[in-house]
């Protein structure tokens, strides 16, 4: 009897600290996820193209970048740090994603950051995210467990 092919869930991990990015990616892979990672907002839109070995085509608009991503990858969840390389931070990315609507609006976003400012947390929750974690207050496995639960319960 043919075993049903279970597609692995793909998580987009955006974290600027290299050691943290590595340990998160490694653990997520161990727990059965596929990873696309980036360390800045710009990289998010480059990453999908890089993976396929294409030259980086500068998208002339966010819309275009999303179209590329749309066609190349299916993303099931986003692991997002607030402080990132480059000028833009996690909040800017969420704004950009939400502004483009469609399926980008429905992807669960998990913000895992060491910033605890009430203002920042409120900004994220106003835009609509799944959960906000203060990194140093949680075990890595606990966060991954919750992400899994959310995804298993969702239509993705």
């Amino acid at each position: 009897m043919k075993k049903p092919i279970i597609k692995k869930k793909i998580i987009l991990v955006i974290e600027d600290e290299r050691p943290l990015l590595q340990v998160v990616n490694s653990r997520l892979k161990k727990k059965g996820f596929e990873i696309i990672s980036a360390r800045s907002v710009d990289q998010v839109f480059d990453s999908g193209l890089k993976k396929k070995g294409l030259n980086i085509i500068t998208a002339s608009s966010i819309k275009q970048a999303l179209e590329y991503l749309e066609n190349l990858e299916r993303i099931d969840a986003i692991w997002l740090d607030h402080n990132l390389f480059g000028k833009e931070n996690g909040l800017d990315l969420v704004k950009k994603l939400k502004a483009n609507g469609g399926r980008w609006n429905k992807i669960p976003i998990f913000v895992v950051s060491n910033t605890e400012s009430n203002k920042t947390i409120k900004s994220y929750s106003d835009l609509g995210i799944s959960k906000y974690y203060v990194k140093s207050n949680h075990k890595l496995d606990d966060i991954i467990k919750e992400i899994k639960l959310t995804l298993d319960g969702s239509i993705f």
């Binding site: 340990v23 653990r27 910033t115 605890e116 400012s117 140093s136 207050n137 890595l140 496995d141």
Partner: protein, 460 residues
Amino acid sequence: MKTYKTNNSENYDIALKLEVLAREKESTRRKLVITAKELALTAKEKEKARQKLVIIARQLAVAAREKERTRRKLEVTARALKKLHETLEKKVLERTEDIERIRSKNEAILASIGDGLVVVDKGGKITYLNRSFEEMLGWNTKEIIGKSMVQVVPREDQNGIKVSFKERILTQVLSGQKFVADLTNPFYYVRKDKSRFPTSSIVAPVVLGGEIVGAVEVFRDITKEKEIDKAKTEFVSLASHQLRTPLSTVNWYSEMLLAGDAGRVTPNQKKYLEEIYRGNQRMVDLVNTLLDVSRIELGTFIAESKPTNIIELVQDVIKEYSQQIDKKKIKFSSVFGKNIPLIQVDPKLIGMAVQNILSNAVKYTPTGKKIGVSILLDGKNILLEISDTGYGIPKEQQSKIFTKLFRADNVVGKDTVGTGLGLYIAKSVLEQANGKIWFISEENKGTTFFVNLPIGKHKK
């Protein structure tokens, strides 16, 4: 009448004539008598009239004298009035000069007030503005006097969205509405040159004879204050991020090592790794606590009050410690009063305070001893008691219990950890909510902490 026999008709004629004469004489005599009587009467009347005239003449004389006296009095009065008039004129002049001086002084004061000042009439039209207004907003008095303040000076929120006429505080105050200030949202005034600055303003109605005849607004440019606030928040935010990042790295890598992610660990290696993990956790707790303290001290902790069920709040905190309580075999009891009303507090902050107190009770109570929690209504307050039969606080050190980083000597020796900041934070948070915290304790007998929270309104 003699009747003579005279010779005849001559004598008779004479006799007749004499009779006629006599009769005429009599008649004349009678007439004269009447006339005399009449004259006498007339004379009497004349005399009466004369006497009346004399009286009248005397009266006239008296009246004339009175008139003269009155005339003299009037003269005196007239002179006095003239003098008074001159004095009054002088006084009015002096008073006018005084008023003018005071007015100039007031004008000078109003003009020199560092804050912007604008006075509007009932219709919201500008009737007065001071120099600071001109300088802050770039308008000249002549340009905008008599115009609508709300139209001349637009008010915007942070995102540049204009506040409508209806929503302007000025409009609301002029229509008699009680205005409730929204302190969390920064507002901006737009200058003549379309640039803007953050403002803090107070508007009050001008009431005369029970009627609103206008309004006065005083406003300030709070750019500097906002910058300082921003710097404070950013400092705490930066500090928290910088401190927590390496801690997270150690946390997760130790966790992964312990989970065997980098290969199997021997039991000994596991022990060492667990110590690393535990030590790191203490750092995380310390950093979290220090950040709370700095937020309290810098005043960047904004309380978000909402109606809170204090019993539920405390029960949630107890749940967090139930595992530790069971592990230490502590006998736990609780009493919750009935009809405890909801209170307007920030549940996160009060929860933090309660957690700090309960955490101490659990930490400093040895195995097998007791901890009790009760919530009761006490007049206009809610009284929370957390008591334990643990180590207690030595008498000589009780006065320092609420100070930063203080830990009593008797627990430093025992196998417990603590930052010495928990009660400082609890006290700051509770006092900000207009509550009180105090305790009674005896070394080796136990401690009871009391928390009082008023049911009424709290200061921000």
